[in-house]
Amino acid sequence: MLSHMTSMKKFLPVLLSFAMLAGGTALYVQNAGAQAPAPEAPAAAAPEAPAAPEPPKIDTGDTAWVLVSSALVLAMTAPGLFLFYGGMSRGKNALSTMMQSFVILCLISVQWVLWGYSLAFGPDIGGIIGSLEWFGLSGVGTAPNPDYAATIPHQAFMLFQMMFAVITPALITGAYAERVKFSSFCVFTLLWATFIYDPLCHWVWAVGGWVRNLGALDFAGGTVVHISSGIAGLACALVVKKRMGHGKEAMHPHNLPMTLMGASLLWFGWFGFNAGSALGAGELATSTFTATNTATAASALAWMIAEWIYRGKPSALGVASGAVAGLVAITPASGFVGPISSLLIGAGAGVLCYIAVMLKPLFGYDDALDAFGVHGIGGIWGALATGLFASKAVNSAGADGLFFGNPAQLGIQAMAVLITVVFVFIGTLIILAVVGGIMGLRTSEEDERLGLDLSQHDEKAYS
């Protein structure tokens, strides 16, 4: 039974969302004007006329690849990630866990179109943040923006980046699963995306971003996506506290085939995530694809073997977790390393993340589904490994790492990691304090005991 007070609070996200719509509608007309792309083909159902003669010219192959990659990265979040996480949760919380990723996809898709993309990639303000000039995608048309991708429509780049903005907060949910109020979750997500992700994304990837200017290498989002979500997850686990009965009651994953399916779809979609980051379908996309697949397989085997030696038996959850750890670790390096380097980066990730997950109990926080253990640790290892294994022989646009005669790069990578960790950890704590203070973070004991599916959503996963 909700007190009037709490139900009031519950509507914060509602209001927030309406605010979005309002805001959006406000600049409706001018925006509609701003949509004008290059003239389209004579019939909607007819193929596209060759884009206007003046360069930069759109390449259909590159565009096809980036659009497909965008769809693949969307599939990583839904259903990929929510299956991976949902299967590990308990049956009474399965839907609420899965729904979190799904709702994040919806919230951020709207946030990104309205102000997120503008903050992240809009005209630079002092290397810190983008201006709101591109609010509601005004000015973000279908002609290429050579700053980011010269052979595909600007909106294609925006879409591809959107999917990154979506999955990052979704990864965090693994840390606070099974105990947070849905309303607080919605508000936290919107704030975190706006005040943590968007600026960080600007720093690392936007033209003029100050971290980018440091020369740090992050091909597909090791720092922006994985370290940030992993560290945010750690902060959440610490602030939100343990689930009731944690350590005492058994908390079995309720559906491991679901988790295995999720891991597979993450692997599948990650080709879009990494190879898509080449923003074209050519040599770089191909070598990235090779690196991604090799590291993932090596990491899964490494985790399996570590478990086999240490536990006596390999497990399906272990192999799946190892694969995800490998995907995380290779992300920043994928465009800069060859197959053998990938093999070693992956093997390292599998072993390190396995150790991290095994040691978790010692620290006593409850990172329910190991968002930090896998994404935080794996992401940090990957960022540093990029400083070890990167090679200009693979990607002349990159840099050489320590093993290729350039120790300095490792330092730059470490610096980027440090910046990300500090900014995200502190920023997340602040947001948690705000949300917690205003509306509280956790459900009532009774609700948690009953399960979030019934208490937060009046639903049951299975009947």
Binding site: M88, A250, M251, H252, P253, L317, G318, S321, V357, P361
Partner: protein, 112 residues
């Protein structure tokens, strides 16, 4: 008339059922249960966490039989359910006051 309740190993259900039908028992009710006893349970490990469970899957068979059938029924169940290894289970016999067959309203032995 008596109620026989047997707790057995799941994979023995078919055999026990057939045994009972042979000796002329026409019906039974079966429930999936978890048993705890001398038989050791299994271990599960998920990432860090290791769970030992003392419970093992069993099935419970409830059979109503006329008094003159009790001995044979108990013997039949025991014989077919037996593997000789720990965990074979128990057969319990108890009294009851009355039975009604809902469809016909028949009572007593004719309700079976």
């Amino acid at each position: 008339m008596k109620m026989i309740e047997a707790i057995i190993k799941p994979f023995k259900l078919e055999e026990v059922k057939d045994g009972l039908l042979e000796i002329g028992v026409h019906g039974m009710t079966v429930t999936e249960v978890k048993g705890l006893g001398r038989q050791k349970g299994s271990k599960e490990t998920y990432r860090g966490a290791e769970y030992k469970t003392d419970f093992v899957p069993k099935v419970k068979i409830e059979v109503l039989v006329a008094d003159n059938m009790v001995a044979r029924a108990v013997e039949t169940i025991s014989r077919h359910a037996k593997t000789g290894t720990v965990g074979d289970g128990k057969v319990i016999v108890s009294d009851l006051n009355s039975v009604v067959r809902i469809r016909t309203g028949e009572t007593g032995d004719s309700a079976l």
